[in-house]
Symmetry: D2
Subunit: 140 residues, 4 copies
């Protein structure tokens, strides 16, 4: 499967009283897609954490266009659009698979940090991961 | 208590592996604060839904400045900054009570919709709620 | 794939400060597996709800044996062990795929209800679904 | 307020398509109540974790009697019913404040563990917390 695409099916517990997926879950879908993407390109979040690098969020934004309903299959497309070793930004498009309609778009930005959440650059300390992320950065 | 302030304590299940409140929960805290505010000004979301008016999200944004830790007490300040009967926008500031530090800021925007999620104006159909929301709108 | 097996990968947002999947999420995994199973046997929850039948929980139980970590792939095995048209009970085993170790076991029990959550039998009103569920019931 | 009682208001994001609080959230309410209780009796979970003691779940059970609706205020009553330094068990009753009806009952059981999740007794290593928990144990 395309390394930029994360597929999932909306769970019952993700819906709310409006009978649609609660808007906070789109932020979680973004995270699932980003973590899958980073794994696919060889820069695994779990492995990075074992080496002492955390990737906290600095920003998260979602624009909701069409409700996701229970049991809908959705595709989350993710792109790394900015990276400089200190920060990175990802953009997302969530589509409802059946109709190919866009359910939501959005972005998140992140820094790299040590286990005390002190921001740090990975340029010199993690040259391999730095290179991989740089190579997988596309224009916004 | 101030009608614009919603207080809560961070739950264990809201934390993640980084030992901080997961960033999707800030979006949920925003919602708790908005719903509390609307209740406090006399425009209760539960009552509106009983009358057939839903308030889906169009946008959500959060900027994360300082991690919220487990058992931290936080205050969410909410302001209605735009309202025209069709859409509304709220701004939020989350502060850690003990230190008064800002943990996050953000906004959400919403429309009004019927039970089929078709957008509609509440100006003429719900004049009372329209008036209350207009009176409680402050400049951005 | 086996109709009784639901596979998933543990998400970052499902972990807590202990660096393991929070125990409430196992209850959610059970639900994902049950809904997938019911879909697989031809008794789709979404379709049932469209016909006015809800399936609220009466009980939920989980026994935790081994922590699920972030990014672990797990298999949830589900069995329908009791069904009489009025109530049903499912049993679950969650295994960590890589090691085949049991992470948790549990059960949930349910009734059938109309849209006002009034319990009802599906024996005569939904004979097709009744038959399917009966045929897919195995001994405890 | 009574040290055994935890009060909360059901959040919008905790509801599901059935327009009731999703059953996994009752397990989370139990946790909020347990953590509040432990804080109230002087055996704070946050402080214990700082000293290297974690309290993972071994079991969780809930019996659902009456749905909790959005914006309902509920009281969670918690009792420590078993404790021996190695394990403990809590029982819970969730009531809807307005009507005093029981929404759910349940229990959770726990062990004490070090940061690698290896079970351990706190009897000799944490005599103060051991004493407090023992004094606050009531019969089942």
């Amino acid at each position: 499967m395309d390394k930029n695409i994360f597929k999932l099916r909306a769970s019952y517990y993700e819906t709310d009283r409006m009978k649609i997926v609660h808007h906070s879950n789109h932020i979680r879908y973004f995270e699932d897609a980003r973590i899958s993407f980073m794994h696919n390109i060889g820069c695994d979040v779990y492995e990075l954490e074992k080496k002492g690098i955390l990737i906290p969020n600095i920003e998260a934004y979602a624009k909701y266009k069409k409700p996701i309903k229970f049991f809908d299959e959705v595709c989350v497309e993710v792109k790394l659009v900015k990276f400089n070793g200190v920060r990175m930004k990802f953009e997302y498009v969530i589509r409802i698979c059946e109709t190919d309609e866009i359910a939501a778009t959005g972005f998140t930005s992140h820094c790299f940090a040590d286990e005390n959440l002190i921001p740090k650059s990975i340029k010199h300390s993690f040259p391999e991961e730095y290179k991989i992320l740089l190579q997988n950065t596309v224009s916004e």
